[in-house]
């Protein structure tokens, strides 16, 4: 237990101390929110879909969470050669505990990041319509954060070089984000895109956030929650297994 706590605490301390990293990682969501939000706003309105900032903000919150979470998972490639992770791998501690501690740490940082983006989006004009649902929104944020930290860990356990990092960004993170309904509604899409989106776990995270924050859900909150819990459990298991097999 203490080991899990210390690994979690370590990542939290790192996050809080690296002010530059916090500010840097907020730039992108802010840009998306302002450029897309105000840029596509009028068209969205004309199409009869209402306020685009309202629609977009939950998607951008999800974006900042998956980027942060995936990164802290992928960071294992680096950390196991040039970082503290190597020190933990030779310590008399089980790999499972290391994996759990690291995942919780990465997920906590991602959720904090999501909360900061939520606050920023309030400044940009976003207004959650259902305040009592905010705790449930937080649950969705936590699930998405754990899921993508675990996916990052699983991928990082299979790679031995940072060069793979850009491939992951291009072929995993970006498609997962763009095809999740974070930027556009999932209703009335071409069949192919619609099928891909419904197989994308992030779609359910974005949908859950939208359902809780502005009361509009495509799949329904119960479905969102069930799918996310199942997928998260599966990937935590896969990530733990692959992580336990890491040889340096």
């Amino acid at each position: 237990m203490k080991v899990i706590y210390i690994l979690w605490l370590r990542q939290l301390k790192r996050y809080i101390r690296s002010k530059a990293r916090i500010i840097g990682s907020l730039g992108q969501p802010l840009l998306f929110l302002v450029a897309l939000g105000f840029g596509f706003g009028p068209i969205f309105q004309k199409a009869g879909q209402g306020n685009y900032i309202q629609f977009l903000a939950p998607g951008i919150i999800a974006m900042s969470i998956i980027f942060t979470a995936m990164f802290s998972g992928i960071e294992i490639i680096w950390d196991r050669q040039f970082g503290f992770l190597k020190e933990t791998l030779v310590a008399p501690v089980s790999r499972l505990k290391i994996m759990v501690g690291r995942t919780l740490g990465g997920a906590t940082v991602a959720v904090l990041q999501g909360i900061v983006v939520l606050l920023i989006s309030l400044i940009a004009g976003f207004r959650p319509t259902n305040i009592p649902m905010i705790p449930l929104a937080l649950v969705f944020m936590i699930l998405v954060a754990i899921l993508f930290t675990a996916i990052g860990t699983a991928i990082a356990s299979l790679l031995d070089d940072m060069q793979g990092f850009h491939l992951i960004m291009t072929f995993v993170v970006m498609p997962v984000f763009f095809l999740s309904g974070a930027l556009f509604p999932l209703d009335g899409l071409p069949r192919g895109v619609s099928i891909v989106a419904s197989m994308n776990p992030l779609s359910y995270g974005v949908d859950g956030l939208r359902g809780t924050l502005i009361g509009v859900a495509h799949f329904g909150l119960a479905t969102d929650l069930a799918v996310l819990i199942a997928v998260t459990a599966a990937f935590v298991a896969i990530g733990s297994y692959l992580f336990s097999k890491i040889q340096i």
Binding site: R10, Q81, F82, G83, F84, K86, V90, P92, M162, Q163
Partner: protein, 265 residues
């Protein structure tokens, strides 16, 4: 003396048909300073990884303080400390926090934690800098901190993989001074690798030279020089391993090291 703390017999490791370590056998005595030397790609790091439970051997047997790293990794992990070739400190934490985290990982009781940290940080002359973030430390200070950290849990054996690589002569001397002091004070066995032959000649009580995955010879520095009729250990080393420069292909770790040098510090 005369008690083996590390025993290796016919240890072999192959990677996809390539033999990195080829039936090596050697032993290290309690409290001795043992040098494990060889050119790049000779199999030093692979051997250390197997002894320190990071890699499973293909065949052969090992005993570390009476336990087999392949069979009983948890027991073995408690018995050694290690300073890797690449740093494994957390840069964003202070020196003290790095030490404290190590104590928790190795179950050093809270009551003696502070005293032990103070004692070791004082030996490596970093006690005054305990509250500074590690990223502000120089290469030599980081190494000293890692050595101190590796000893927190009272290990029987300390592994040092090129502990003085990239440091200036003053710092190298200071580091060896600390290591020798700790070896005496704490009675620990030191197992190290290095490319600086004069360093090995000065500090090692016994040496094994490995090349192409095989142990070429072992003995005291004096014995090795006599055997090869050389003036210095460096001459003996060249006579044994040849003059050819090892042109290895860069591994993924080497590529990452390059990036690290480019982007940091």
């Amino acid at each position: 003396m005369d008690k083996e703390i590390i025993t290796v017999k016919d240890l072999t490791k192959t990677f996809n048909g390539l033999t990195a370590v080829d039936h090596i056998s050697f032993s290290v005595q309690k409290t001795e300073i043992f040098g494990f030397l060889g050119p790049n790609g000779a199999g030093k790091s692979t051997t250390i990884k197997m002894l320190t439970t990071l890699l499973q051997p293909t065949s052969g047997s090992m005993l570390m303080n009476g336990h087999d790293p392949a069979e009983d990794p948890h027991k073995v992990r408690q018995t050694f400390g290690i300073v890797f070739q690449d740093p494994s400190l957390d840069d964003e934490l202070t020196a003290y926090e790095n030490m404290e985290f190590h104590c928790i990982l190795y179950n050093v009781p809270k009551t003696i934690r502070r005293k032990r940290i103070e004692q070791l940080l004082k030996i490596v002359e970093l006690w005054d800098r305990r509250k500074d973030l590690v990223k502000k430390f120089s290469g030599g200070m980081k190494r000293r901190l890692e050595i101190a950290r590796g000893l927190l849990h009272h290990p029987k054996i300390l592994f040092l993989d090129e502990p003085t690589l990239g440091l200036d002569p003053q710092t190298r001397n200071l580091i060896w001074l600390h290591i020798k002091e700790l070896n005496k004070k704490e009675g620990i066995t030191v197992f190290f690798t290095t490319h600086y032959m004069e360093e090995a000649e000065r500090v090692a009580q016994r040496i094994a030279i490995i090349d192409h995955g095989r142990i070429l010879t072992q003995g005291t520095p004096k014995q090795l020089k006599e055997k090869t009729r050389s003036q210095s250990l460096e001459d003996a080393f060249i006579k044994l391993t040849g003059r050819a420069i090892r042109e290895e292909e860069a591994t993924s770790t080497d590529r990452m090291r390059m990036r690290r040098r480019l982007f940091r510090r």
